[in-house]
């Protein structure tokens, strides 16, 4: 039942992803309620899956890389559903759906779901640390998505080649504002996640701390550059994309280290 919920959720995101591909092929981009509806449905199914899994293992379902990826996909969808309408970034769904589909798809097909030996003892700090950190990753992911949208629009404006998608993208200042707030939100959550990690009572491998600190420093540097205007908005957008790609690979490493430790 759990996996069926997840498969149904992945199919919803796949539907939204297909619409994006179709739009790309036809070079016609519309602001689409269908995207929003598909992502909302996918999100509800994901929530049901996480609830069922959490109930089964007796704690927040982030005990292995499979669950971490699903939880991350859920966080991205959650933040999109909150931020997208608020900033009128409806087209963000076209960019978000493929990312969420990719994360869930990888989680489903790569046999990462190693079940825990049994019901684990609850550890509130550990669950808080992991869940807040992953939601922070969701905010960073959305900042990266806003960065891609910014770069696409910037490129078209510079080259004077305006494609269909250009007319559907939000204005540059709105995108930059959304990106900045998502980076700030992610950074605050990530900091809270890091601090809570010290209260878990679990052993803290040096490499895990180093990698987590590297992500924190990376985003801290981007935010400092943004607020003190050391770099231009275009570079902040590019850094948001690169930083998320880097953070995602580090997340993998952190998980790997955790399991080896």
């Amino acid at each position: 039942m759990e996996h069926q919920l997840l498969i149904a959720s992945t199919l919803c995101y796949f539907g939204a992803f297909l619409r994006t591909l179709l739009h790309l092929r036809e070079r016609v981009f519309h602001r689409s309620r269908i995207h929003f509806a598909l992502i909302s449905l996918g999100f509800l199914l994901q929530t049901a899956f996480l609830f069922a899994r959490g109930h089964a293992i007796g704690r927040c379902p982030i005990t292995n890389l499979f669950e971490v990826l699903i939880f991350l996909a859920w966080s991205i969808a959650l933040i999109y559903l909150v931020v997208g309408p608020a900033y009128r970034l409806s087209l963000m769904g076209a960019f978000t759906a493929p990312l969420v589909f990719l994360l869930e798809g990888v989680a489903l097909i790569s046999r990462l779901d190693v079940p825990p030996p049994g019901r684990l003892p609850p550890n509130t700090w550990l669950e808080l640390h992991a869940s807040v950190s992953i939601i922070a990753y969701g905010a960073f992911a959305l900042a990266g998505v806003a960065g891609v949208m910014y770069l696409v629009q910037e490129r078209q404006l510079k080259t004077h080649v305006l494609q269909s998608i250009f007319y559907q993208l939000p204005p540059l200042p709105s995108l930059f504002a959304a990106m900045s707030r998502l980076l700030s939100l992610g950074f605050v959550l990530y900091t809270a996640g890091m601090v809570s990690g010290f209260f878990t009572g679990e052993p803290l491998p040096a490499l895990k701390i180093t990698l987590a600190l590297a992500v924190w420093l990376l985003y801290g540097a981007i935010l400092v550059s943004r607020y003190f205007r050391f770099v231009t908005p275009r570079r902040i957008a590019a850094l948001s994309v690169l930083a998320f790609a880097g953070a995602l690979s580090l997340l993998w490493s952190i998980e790997f280290v955790s399991h080896r430790a």
Binding site: H160, L162, S164, Y167, R229
Partner: protein, 358 residues
């Protein structure tokens, strides 16, 4: 019941004639006396059309005379400027008009609002009935579908509107944006007026001739800036429209770069509509600065025209889809009333619109 459309437009008649036959307060009354059961007058700057329904056909010259503003005279040459469509052709025509396919600027959307207002006016006067009601509602639906399912309204088709649309695209709300017009020629005046029309309130004009700068500034409710100080304005402004007759570049990266540090994160949109150009192309390489010269703007306008032309077939398909749907409704009504298939001719469109009882 006969459904008809009778009128003239920018293709068939010059503006003087469209003015003469723009309709008046008694037009509806006269047509009702001639036997029209339902009526709607659509009068815009590009067209004057009467949509109506009557039991018996009303002669074209009679309709034309009723539309004439000051007298009822009509010459044969004038009558040649009119067109008339009946039943299915009339429906198709209204669908095309409401969708902007018959407009001077293909794909413009203002016509839909004008058609809606014309319908509301006719309705308020008690000139409409079930036939025009259904026809108009269907036409508004078709127009909406054409707008959303095709790209016939996409892009701007003139240099001025491309510049203004790009500004809106880059900045979003233009009301708080600051605009400097460099050179007070006709081209920049048109562009700045279009920007003022989109809500820009902070307009600054700089020109070698201070008198001309003040004249244009007064016309657009802006302020005149001495020509010696225009470069300093680049620290504050969001949009620069340049169209001076200078032989050399007035702005290049060396001049602009030092001014950008105080601009915070705001983009700078430069519109150079001068020939020879006033702004060095290398300025476009600076981060956050977007330079469009006359060729770049024209090229975007041309692409939009071409794109709209390509979308025509898609729009036609949507219209035909709706016409077929209406025909299917007719067939269905014929089945219900047991009209033998052999006795059915090309059906008039009116019954499908709900007036079979009349």
């Amino acid at each position: 019941m006969n459904l008809f459309c009778f009128g003239l437009n920018h293709r068939t008649a010059p503006i003087e004639m469209r003015e003469r036959f723009a309709g008046h307060g008694d037009t509806a009354q006269r047509l009702r006396e001639a036997g029209a059961a339902e009526l709607m007058l659509l009068a815009t700057c590009n067209r004057v059309e009467i949509y109506g329904a009557s039991e018996n056909s009303i002669a074209s010259d009679e309709i034309a005379r009723s539309m004439r503003r000051h007298d009822s005279s009509l010459t044969p040459i004038e009558l040649e400027g009119f067109y008339r469509h009946s039943d299915a052709e009339c429906v198709r025509h209204l669908f095309r008009v409401a969708s902007g396919m018959e407009s001077m600027v293909v794909g413009e959307t203002e016509i839909l609002g004008q058609a809606k207002r014309a319908y509301e006016k006719a309705q308020a006067c008690g000139d409409t009935g079930p036939l025009l009601h259904r026809l108009c509602q269907r036409a508004f639906r078709v127009a909406k579908q054409v707008r959303t399912r095709t790209q016939i309204t996409r892009g701007s088709v003139s240099v001025g509107s491309v510049a203004v649309d790009l500004a809106e695209k880059i900045f979003g709300d233009l009301r708080k944006r600051r605009v400097l017009v460099l050179g007070a020629g006709e081209a920049s005046e048109k562009t700045v007026r279009a920007l003022a029309g989109r809500g820009v309130s902070d307009l600054r004009v700089s020109n070698r001739s201070p008198a001309r700068a003040q004249e244009l500034a007064a016309a657009v409710n802006g302020i005149a800036v001495p020509f010696a100080n225009w470069l300093e304005q680049c620290r504050e402004i969001d949009i620069l429209i340049s169209s001076t007759a200078a032989d050399d570049y007035l702005l290049d990266p060396l001049l602009l770069t030092p001014l950008l540090s105080q601009r915070r994160d705001r983009p700078l949109f430069l519109i150079d509509i001068a020939v020879p150009r006033n702004i060095a192309p290398a300025v476009n390489d600076i981060d956050g600065v977007y330079l469009y010269d006359i060729d770049a703007l024209q090229s975007i306008a041309d692409e939009a025209v071409e794109l709209r032309r390509q979308q025509f077939a898609l729009a036609e398909a949507i219209i035909e889809e709706h016409l077929h749907d209406l025909h299917r409704q007719i067939e269905s009504k014929c089945e219900k009333t047991a009209v033998p298939r052999s006795s059915r001719t090309v059906p008039p469109i009116a019954p499908a619109l709900g007036t079979s009882q009349t």
